[in-house]
Assembly symmetry: C2
Homo-oligomer: 382 residues x 2
């Protein structure tokens, strides 16, 4: 039984980017304070967190300082070190969610695909690639082109490239160690489900539909414009994925809907996810409040969708890194029902996620999608 006292609960978060920022915004109404660990002083989350530990994600001393202040630890970035998380859990007795082993699994695309496949979750065919011979074999078995992915460290599509030959792969990846090759499936659409594992309970949000360009999420709409059967199948696969994971928290489960009607699990993020940002305005409980509830073992909130919604990312443009200067904000703020979420990053880099826009409607995703597109297209960095 939870008691709110004069000693507020502190959630320690490895990573202090926009996910940490929105987590801190959402945790406060629960009476939960957030302390983040991030190497960048004045990281996006710092403005709304109780405090920031300035340290690298894999700095043992930094993680120990974070753990010493926290009633529970979680992650908002794949670069968190599972060994360090397991060590503070075991040595300091601080609960860590999701389970560090699950963080380890989802941070390695090969291990993730193996784990899902072994549990009977449908995934695209894949093969381990450590060298040219492996890749030749993969091209034989999976066909060319195939999707080649770095097992570790990739995010927002960095470290993914479609390749049709060893030469092309060398150009994209340099040496060919630590990769996984995946069949290129024919996509009807990309969808995702935010799933949550609580203390003895599970829940899923409705199926969202996502548009990526150059491997970076650009837009999401919810509900996905798939037929009922496909949406039900996607929710089923997401629930099966949740069964494979350990520990509590929100998980971003990206799925492929293939042209022949299959649903395959693609990637899993052990944390709130860009394609779930719509939940802030459109769901009864946002994915960020839900993550705080789950990690702390509080009852889960309702995942009910209050209406249709669309989300568009605001990405850095241009060729180089430079200080942020975003114009046209007034028009976006004046657009009826459009919500701005600005992350407070100091530097714009090409395709860097700097903010997002959400709009809702009673039903039908076209109107909110038009609204967020118009708002986004009215913004400029020049």
């Amino acid at each position: 039984m939870t008691t709110l006292t004069d000693d507020p609960t502190t959630l320690g978060v490895v990573g202090g980017g926009q996910l940490g920022r929105m987590l801190a915004e959402a945790a406060a109404p629960l009476g939960v304070e957030v302390v983040v660990l991030d190497p960048t002083p004045d990281c996006p989350a710092a403005a709304v967190a109780r405090d920031q530990v300035v340290a690298d994600f894999d700095d043992p001393e930094g993680v120990a300082r974070l753990a010493a202040r926290a009633d529970a630890l979680t992650v908002e970035i794949e670069l968190a070190d599972p060994d360090l998380l397991a060590a503070v859990r075991d040595d300091e007795g601080v609960p860590v969610h999701p389970d560090p082993e699950t963080v380890r699994t989802t941070s390695d695309k090969l291990r993730e695909a193996e784990t899902l496949g072994e549990a009977g979750v449908p995934v695209p065919a894949f093969r381990r690639v450590d060298g040219a011979a492996d890749l030749e074999a993969a091209l034989d078995v999976l066909g060319a082109p195939l999707m080649l992915k770095a097992r570790r460290g990739g995010y927002d599509g960095r470290g993914n490239a479609p390749v049709d030959s060893v030469a092309a792969a060398r150009e994209a990846f340099g040496d060919l160690e630590g990769l996984v090759a995946e069949e290129l499936v024919e996509l009807e659409r990309e969808v995702s489900v935010m799933g949550v594992r609580g203390d003895g309970e599970r829940a899923t949000y409705p199926v969202a539909e996502n548009v990526h360009e150059a491997e970076i999420l650009r837009e999401s709409v919810v509900p996905a414009r798939a037929d009922d059967e496909t949406r039900e199948r996607a929710s089923e696969v997401a629930r099966d994925v949740l069964d494979v994971l350990d520990g509590r928290g929100v998980f971003g489960i990206e799925l492929f809907e293939t042209t022949d009607g299959e649903v395959l699990a693609n990637e899993i993020a052990p944390r709130p996810h860009n394609s779930g940002h719509y939940t802030i305005e459109a769901a009864t409980t946002s994915q960020f409040e839900q993550h705080a509830r789950a990690v702390l073992g509080l009852p889960l909130g309702s995942t009910h969708l209050r209406g249709a919604a669309a989300m568009a990312n605001v990405l850095g443009d241009g060729e180089d890194a430079r200080p942020v200067r975003l114009h046209g904000v007034d028009d976006a703020l004046a657009a009826p029902g459009v919500h701005l979420h600005w992350y407070g990053k100091r530097e714009a880099r090409p395709l860097r996620k700097l903010g997002h826009l959400t709009a809702t409607a009673a039903d039908g995703v076209e109107t909110p999608l038009d609204a967020v597109r118009a708002a986004r297209d009215g913004l400029s960095f020049e």
Copy 2:
């Protein structure tokens, strides 16, 4: 034209209670950082604000330090000193909203009633009381009992008492200086409208209905259960009130609906208001985001109501101040669609506002009202 840059906008707020906390939660998505001034270290807003200046509300040096860090100043507490606010505006050139003169007016119940009355806004009949003779005259003219109010420093009903004689007034107020006597109107219901003055635009939220006990707000529902004509009249009076005020920001406009169908202006708060907390979940733009937008001269957001809503306050009980220990939180969190807003106050005092609960519905206030009452009644401090 607003530009978001690598130098985030800072909103300075005099006061760091729950209103400042919810303001900081709501300002962050706009890319706005909040610094609060409050004499209590670790005040409720401190957990989510960028920083806190620890100083008394009327400390010139503290207000100057706040102003030095802020792109604009606002208030979340009536105890802000209008002279100090005017001085930093004039000397440091920091915009202050609402206008310090309006803060002065609304912090003095006599001046407020005079200002509204002179502008033709309907108010209960009132008389200035400075001494027993004034009170005798007031009892003669306004009838007995009447509502006697301290002109300054009252909030949450402190400083208000119905009295029917000079003796009763002495018992409630000690000496009889600095008071205002008001006719006791026969109430059909108490309602309120959150109004907002932006940069060249005005807006009002729908009419809420409020239940007070012992002069403290207990519950609000929206839309108010008044007939259409009365609601329209209440909105009209609220718009007239907005015309009387100066500067930008959200204003909590409390109104009386009398048994003979009149709508009278009661009290005005120059800031977001407890009876507008429902806007966080139930309106397209929350009153807190709206206040940040208005004060900073950004375009106003939509005041559209997304559905019906009910709000119940969580108040301290018992006889004495003591460290907070609130039990039964799990049941409140597990109630479908009930939202908790906990303010992080360390000490429970009788009738102190410690948090609130909101629930929404597509339409009809009874279901969400039942939900927040059940959740509130399941909480206990023992």
